[in-house]
Amino acid sequence: MSFFSYAWDWLSQSQQWQGANGIPTRLVQHLVYTGLSLLIATLIALPLGVIIGHAGRGGSAVVSLANVWRSIPTLGLLVLMVIILAFSIATWLVPLVVLAIPPILVNAYEGVIGVDRDLKDAARGMGMTPRQVLLKVEIPVALPLILLGLRTAAIFVVATATIAAEIGLGGLGRYIIDGLATNNYGEVAGGAVLVVALALAVQVSFVGIRRLVVPAGLRQGAAQT
């Protein structure tokens, strides 16, 4: 049997779609974990990255942060948290937020510092105050990179929330972890399909957000990112 036929058999059973362990409940949980972590991380990292980029200092520290971040084994961090703190909201929220910060921070920094000098000079020449330069020129021009950072963080949080099922978190990862534990491959496959669908939906929604908020003049040039 192929992966998809296992997944289909499991997904098409009506009992999977109701109750406390049902797909709608698990999906909502996953969305709440992801949204909450992403929101807190953004509130911390976005202003910080923009300010550091605007000031133009601390760049190398920011970039090495990104490098160390990539090497942190998230599974290890999650199990360590649950052993030290026992399972609570902080056990999963703290790692998810902390780990979602670097991509947002680095991209905001790199986006703002990468704004063409001539552009800033022109803005100042037109009589804009430093604050206006930041809000009307630097941030809009940096927007494609800022969104890229948010997207990276979102992808990361969706995936890590899946792995966090190992330490007892709800969400769609439950099906994979529980299915593996009980040798029920149908459940594992069904869970994997749901996780992939969610991850792709998040990806698509970022394409939509980008279309809405990035000024038309910038979309062309930044198409590569």
Binding site: M1, S2, F3, Y6, G59, V63, A66, N67, V68, W69, R70, S71, I72, P73, T74, L75, G76, L77, V79, L80, V82, I83, I84, L99, P102, P103, V106, N107, E110, G114, L145, L148, G149, T152, I155, F156, V158, A159, T162, I163, E166, I167, G173, I176, I177, L180, Y185, V188, A189, G191, A192, V193, V195, V196, A199, L200, V202, Q203, Q224, T225
Partner: protein, 228 residues
């Protein structure tokens, strides 16, 4: 923390580190072998690049655990089940790096090579690829570090790596083991990163300064490659 656990288990730690290094290093290497020709093709026939890029960014969004378990019916519980997804993830970083690298070759340089009588292949091997090297290596750094870190997730389906220390530590409620596992993953990743920086310094002694800025740009654009 019970530090005496460490000297008593050096053999195990070493064995897991080697396994983790294998699972973490093979995918970026295979990825490099695939992405160089793929990147060259994408630069040559530009219309190919957008669909390839969309393809890799879709793959990139998929959580590693979901890909691991999806391969179980086909490759069983073998190393391949971890290596294939990690190779796909490294392509998401390496293909854009190769394309960006090749596109960073200044047009006058290309023309000069042609004027000196270089054919397409020789120009590619002797001029374009060396100029692209720093950016490709920057991509390799991202791919290697995240792949080493991600390999430990394979432990959830029973593929042995330093992740064993996480799961075993969790079951035995033993933080020392988990801390040691994390430290080994991070050291292994940063050591591989350092090695690649060394390779880059050796390969591109003629290129200083500017390349660092270019590399940094690419690194940020490729911030993807995080540990899922």
């Amino acid at each position: 923390m019970i530090w005496s656990w460490i000297p008593d288990h050096l053999g195990l730690i070493w064995q897991l580190t080697v396994e983790n290094a294998y699972l973490g290093l093979v995918p970026p290497l295979v990825g490099l072998i695939i992405s160089v020709p793929l990147g060259i093709v994408c630069v040559r026939w530009g219309w190919l690049y957008p669909p390839v890029l969309s393809g890799t960014s879709i793959v990139y969004a998929i959580p590693s655990l979901a890909l691991f378990v999806a391969l179980i019916p086909y490759t069983g519980l073998s190393d391949t089940t971890v290596i294939i997804p990690l190779t796909l993830f490294s392509l998401c970083v390496l293909v854009p790096a190769v394309v960006d690298g090749l596109r960073s070759v200044p047009e006058p340089v290309r023309q000069a090579a042609t004027a000196m009588g270089f054919g397409t292949l020789r120009r590619l091997v002797q001029v374009e690829l060396p100029i692209a090297a720093p950016i490709v290596i920057a991509g390799m750094r991202v791919a290697v570090v995240s792949s080493i870190s991600l390999a430990s997730v394979g432990q959830l389906i029973g593929i042995s790596s330093l992740g064993y220390l996480f799961i075993d530590g969790l079951q035995r409620d033993f933080p020392t083991e988990i801390v040691v596992g994390m430290a080994c993953v991070i050291i292994l990743a940063l050591a591989a990163d350092l090695l690649l920086q060394g390779v880059r310094a050796l390969l591109t002694r003629w290129q200083r300064g500017d390349a660092d800025v270019a590399t940094r740009r690419v690194l940020t654009r490729l911030t993807p490659g995080g540990a899922r």
